[in-house]
Amino acid sequence: MTAKSYTKTIVLFIAVLVLLTSLTGCSDSQVTGSNYGGQGRTGSDVYPVTVTDVLGREVTVAREPERIVSLSPAVTEILFTLNLDEKIVGVTDYCDYPAAALDKPKVGGFANPNMEVIINLEPDLVFTSAGVQEDILHQLEKVGITAVVLDAEDIEGVLNNIKLAGEITGSGEKAAEVVSNLQKRIDNVAEKISKTNTRPSVFFEVWDDPLMSAGPGSFIDDLIKRAGGRNIAGDARERYPKFNLEVLLAENPDIYIINSHAHKPEDIKARDGYASLRAVQHDRVYSIEDDLVTLPGPRIVTGLEEMARIIHPEVF
């Protein structure tokens, strides 16, 4: 190869590349998803249903779904609440509530469910969550499987997801009933909290090493506010900020809440330097199950009730 031809080689390479890409670009071999699922219309005549999911995608569900795969523990919970257990044909390894979900066929983890297994279940509807599952979503769209994204960042979002899931799966009435019950419980908490006039400061320990709390945009922050508390990490810049121990000691919260998977309240009280905290001195260290305050499913309302009982035991 002579010296002059090196530049030419590069130019040629790029030319060949452009050509190849443009040639291959036209022959997309897409298998249509029309073979999936039952053919006959069942139940109501509302189908096809078109909904806008939380990513703003317009999804049309042609007929009542009979084989549903859920890639999100929260959605699995919603589907069970809507009495759809018969129709659920696949869930993730992380779907552990209600206990019946454990018996469903598994399609892999949350971040990396197995595409082959999902396709082999021949689902006519797959529920995914946002964020890390968007690659999967793209792949599902490519192979022609109807997918709906359900995810939420606040309680209203959860209620909305329940309604949406009901609408898509033909259980709209059940969904309306579930939502109205949840709304009553939420209103009940709000009413009781409105009668209190203190706003105790609360620290929620998400993780201990590094020390992490929950800031704005997290369910935990929202629940603390609704439960009549003041989240000392409420003005953090992130959703799950690392929290400086000095600030914690200076803020000196009235109530200290931990995630029950990680610690018991006794562990917290025994920590170096924690004896000076007001929460420790007044024996107000509590634990709460993290699924109740982080998963965007119906149990978030239970989380709210527990949180309210912890922060304002006097009105419950």
Binding site: A3, F13, D28, V31, P113, N120, R239
Partner: protein, 349 residues
């Protein structure tokens, strides 16, 4: 005479390992989390290919199995082979170019640049603006930008200094990694997604990935192969190479551009998978010798086979869960390489 014999031997090695690799790919096509028989697998593949002419009547396979073989496994295996080939070939090229056994395809900051690109795209939600391909595109851009920066830093009065390049690569990698970490800290909501991308793997592969990356990778490897003689000469030092009539600066520049394009295309669609680009060229060198004319093609072929095999293990061993393929490349490659190293200690490099 002797050269002709060697050439015959090389052809034998190359075509032998190439057919071996194709066999491995076909074998891996039949293995997966869902049980599909060998006959059905090949029936689906053959019927899919022949459907263009529709001469024969094939049995009706379940639609789900057709999708699994044709749209999940096949593109994944093709992409894994291409990425493995790219990383191993570029690793071989860089080890020769830098005369450094520690060189790998990421030595010029490509992985750090790609990670930064991908992390920015994910954190700033570019997918919702430009669509799904935003992340690979940003990774590709980041990879090329970092290589270009390193190249500019490596330019000295007399041309391109490989040592300055290496050091600039290390420094820029550290700098970019720091920015990526900062993005992760600021965007805790997307942390999971960014970290998952950085671990690398082929779990989201579609034909779109194959169509965009594979032509670039194949073209890049073929053109890098054209520089095998120059790389051989450079092993004897820059002066020797110059005396043999090689325009060193132009050659280095061309090799760097080609290697960067090839690696960037691979990293954009698979994330940063370590170890393959470092170890496969060494393994192949121990087996076929240091001549780049056989080293590069053999490394590409072995890299492809190795990547396809490890990815198959990654997607099946804990099925339905998957293991990040980078974990396995080191897990299997490390001990095997140590074994080769002990066995042929005297001939190492």
């Amino acid at each position: 005479m002797e050269y002709r014999e060697r050439k015959t031997r090389w052809k034998l090695i190359f075509f032998g390992s190439l057919s071996g690799t194709i066999l491995v790919m076909l074998l891996c096509l039949t293995i997966g989390a869902v049980d599909i028989s060998v006959g059905e697998t090949f029936g689906i593949v053959v019927s899919k290919i022949l459907k263009l002419g529709s001469y024969f009547n094939f049995p009706q396979y379940p639609a789900s199995h057709e999708v699994i073989i044709w749209q999940v496994r096949l593109p994944r295996i093709i992409l894994a082979s291409a990425v493995g080939a790219a990383l191993a070939a570029v690793g071989g090229v860089f080890q020769g170019l830098f005369k450094n056994p520690m060189a790998d395809p990421y030595v010029l900051g490509i992985s750090a640049g790609a990670s930064l690109g991908a992390a920015s795209a994910i954190a700033f939600q570019l997918q919702s603006v430009i669509g799904f391909f935003a992340v690979p595109a940003a990774a590709f851009a980041g990879a090329l930008a970092s290589t270009f920066t390193v190249y500019c830093l490596g330019k000295v009065r007399t041309g391109v200094s490989v040592y300055t390049l290496l050091l600039a690569g290390v420094a820029l990698s550290a700098f970019f990694s720091a920015i990526t970490s900062f993005i992760i800290v600021l965007h805790s909501r997307e942390t999971h997604q960014i970290v998952f991308w950085m671990m690398g793997g082929f779990s989201g592969t579609t034909w779109l990935h194959v169509k965009t990356a594979v032509p670039v990778i194949c073209g890049g490897i073929l053109l890098l192969y054209c520089f095998a003689r120059e790389l051989n000469a450079m092993l004897f030092g820059d002066n020797t190479a110059r005396h043999l009539g090689i325009d060193l600066n132009r050659v280095k520049k061309a090799i760097l551009i080609l290697a960067a394009m090839t690696t960037a295309a691979a990293v954009a669609v698979s994330g940063t998978i370590g170890f393959v680009g470092l170890i496969i060229p060494h393994m192949v060198r121990l087996m076929v010798g240091p001549d780049h004319r056989i080293l590069l093609p053999a490394a590409a072929v072995f890299g492809a086979a190795f990547m396809v095999l490890t990815d198959t293990v990654a997607r099946t061993i804990l099925a339905p869960a998957e293991i990040p393929v980078g974990v396995l490349t080191a897990f299997f490659g490390g001990p095997f390489f140590i074994y080769l190293l002990r066995k042929k200690k005297s001939e190492f490099i």
